[in-house]
């Protein structure tokens, strides 16, 4: 792979998360869940959250779905980041924290892929806990947040 563009976007850690996604699966009777789609390219992701005894800390979080390497790898990374944090902390998580983890520059189109998991997780937490919706979705409470 001699092409620098190729090497940076599809760097090893992204391909690793894509091929061996962390937290991939379904939580039956999840405390919070949501389904998100990227209408531009058809990426789909469903996120399931189980809270700990305090009802706030994310004890377990899993995702299922299909999509491009960027959307699936970013969601996989997010699973590792979200576990052990409270709903409030994740709801206010800065997207740059996830972008730093991804660690490659993204075009605007691919940014939507990368943010799909985080947006969906925030919607799940909003539905279960009333935490703030992610930027751009606030004010759209009436939307079908299935």
């Amino acid at each position: 792979m001699s092409d620098p563009g190729l090497e940076s976007l599809y760097r090893e850690v992204i391909l690793d998360h894509y091929k061996n996604p962390r937290g991939h699966g379904v939580i039956e009777d999840a405390d919070a869940e949501a389904e998100g789609q990227n209408p531009l390219c058809g990426d789909e992701v469903s996120i399931y959250v189980a809270f700990g005894d305090d009802g706030e800390t994310i004890d377990d979080v899993k995702f299922s779905g299909r999509g491009c390497a960027i959307s699936q790898a970013a969601t996989s990374m997010l699973m590792e980041m979200a576990k052990g944090r409270t709903a409030e902390e994740v709801a206010t998580l800065d997207k740059d924290e996830l972008l730093d983890e991804i660690g490659v520059p993204l075009t605007p189109v691919r940014l939507k892929c990368a943010m799909l998991g985080l947006t969906t997780l925030k919607v799940a937490l909003h539905k279960a806990k009333g935490t703030p919706l992610p930027e751009g979705l606030a004010g759209f409470d009436d939307l079908e947040l299935t």
Binding site: M1, D3, L6, L15, C41, G42, D43, E44, R66, R110
Partner: protein, 430 residues
């Protein structure tokens, strides 16, 4: 020169292939008319394989628009001064070129709109909203672009009419076996399909569907956005009631398209958009509508764009629509053969002789977005996504596909570049 209507009957189509020797198209020479190819992308020659989304533009068309702006520009149909007359002449000449291109009987039936989507919305609103009754059926297909699906779904819903979809068979062709059952089910008022699928390239049996629609007393609305760039159209031979085209897909500029409709239908319809230019007289208590086609052209027209569309039609006719179509069939056959060499590939859609220059495919385990992004770095532009055909993607059981599409300037080397790129994609994900 056979028309599309005759080509849609499979048996005759095969026979015509056997006897016809279409004028050869020299893609390498034509390509030099397109300034976009004078550059490299990521240090590689540009292999532009996304013409089904929008085509590239020949210098002749760009020059015509420039000339119009530089020498003949003013608002049309109003002024009595020289420039206004030149501008009006330019617009109306473009209408005449569009009429001839579609073989319509009169320019009164040719309405300039922004694009095929607007043309189809015009019919859905100005005909559908006034003529659909609760319980009526509107029939579309699983192959429709959203532009010929969503307006009907929306207007049918508003009127309490019901939407039905003709299914696809495993070959990616329309399955017409359910037509009789549909006819028994209710009052079919509208049949709306495309001539050529933008997603699979399938050439649809429009002639058979037109007869069926008319037997039901329904109107037939044809989305020809994907057909017009690639094959000779004849609205009278096709027998359709409305037909929509988009300039940008056929070497013309963005921002202009055309709706053709039967004068007797257009005359009875209420307007779609109202305002300037489309009126006959305006009084405080009542406004009367202008004559065709102006009744459907509210506001200042896309004048320079229409001039560009006229020039694009000149360009296509000089190259020869039959030659373009034959060139694309050859490219599709070549591409299907070459792509089959790539391990893990799934090809969608009908065999080469039943499709226009469009090939949709997936690589096993690799999302189309990733495929398209890695190909971009090889200078190859393809489309990845649902191609505005989500019902079709659901049918195929995929979220998205890769789509390579060809046009008169496409050369086989671009397909080779695509195939080489796909091997590179597989290496990244190996």
């Amino acid at each position: 020169m056979s028309t599309l209507a005759s080509r849609c009957e499979p048996r005759r189509y095969d026979e015509s292939v056997a006897v016809k020797s279409p004028a050869k198209l020299d893609a390498r020479t034509l390509r030099r008319d397109f300034p976009i190819f004078e550059q490299e992308i990521h240090g590689k020659p540009l292999a532009f394989l996304d013409s089904a989304a929008s085509s590239q533009k020949p210098r002749q068309m760009l020059d015509a628009m420039n000339r119009f702006y530089e020498t003949s520009y003013a608002n049309v149909h109003r002024g009595v001064y020289e420039l206004a007359e030149r501008a009006t002449e330019g617009l109306e000449h473009a209408r005449e070129r569009t009429r001839a291109f579609l073989n319509a009987s009169t320019t009164r039936e040719v309405i300039f709109v922004r694009n095929a989507t607007e043309a189809l919305n015009l019919v859905a609103y100005a005909w559908g909203l006034w003529n659909l009754e609760p319980g009526d059926l509107v029939v579309v297909t699983e192959l429709e672009h959203h532009s010929n699906f969503v307006p009907w779904q929306f207007i049918a819903g508003k009127r309490g009419a019901e939407l039905r979809m003709l299914p696809l068979d495993d070959q990616g062709e329309l399955d017409l076996s359910g037509l009789d059952a549909l006819a028994r089910e209710g009052n079919v008022k509208v049949v709306a399909t495309n001539l050529v699928s933008n997603s699979l390239g399938t050439i649809n049996p429009v002639d058979r569907l037109v007869s069926w629609a008319h037997e039901q007393g329904a109107i037939f609305v044809c989305d020809a956005a994907q057909a017009a760039p690639h094959m000779k159209l004849d609205v009278q031979a096709l027998g359709v009631d409305f037909l929509a085209i988009s300039g940008h897909k056929m070497c013309g500029p963005s921002g202009v398209g055309a709706l053709w409709g039967r004068a007797e239908l257009l005359q009875r319809m209420e307007p779609f958009l109202t305002g300037g230019h489309m009126i006959n007289s305006v009084r405080a208590d009542k406004t009367t509508w202008g004559e065709l086609p102006h009744k459907f052209e509210a506001g200042t027209a896309p004048m320079a764009e229409a001039v560009g569309l006229g020039a694009a039609i000149d360009y296509l006719e000089e190259a020869g629509l039959d030659a373009i179509e034959a060139h694309e069939h050859e490219l599709a056959a070549y591409a299907l053969g070459r792509l089959a060499e790539v391990p893990g590939i799934t090809l969608y859609g009908p065999p080469a002789d039943k499709r226009a220059g469009i090939v949709s495919f997936n690589l096993e385990g690799i999302h189309p977005h990733d495929v398209a992004q890695i190909l971009d770095l090889q200078g190859v532009a393809i489309r990845a996504g649902h191609h505005c055909c989500q019902p079709l993607m659901q049918k195929l059981g995929v979220a998205a596909t890769n789509r390579a599409s060809f046009y008169l300037y496409t050369i086989p080397e671009e397909i080779d570049q695509l195939v080489d790129g796909l091997f590179a994609v597989r290496k990244v994900f190996a």
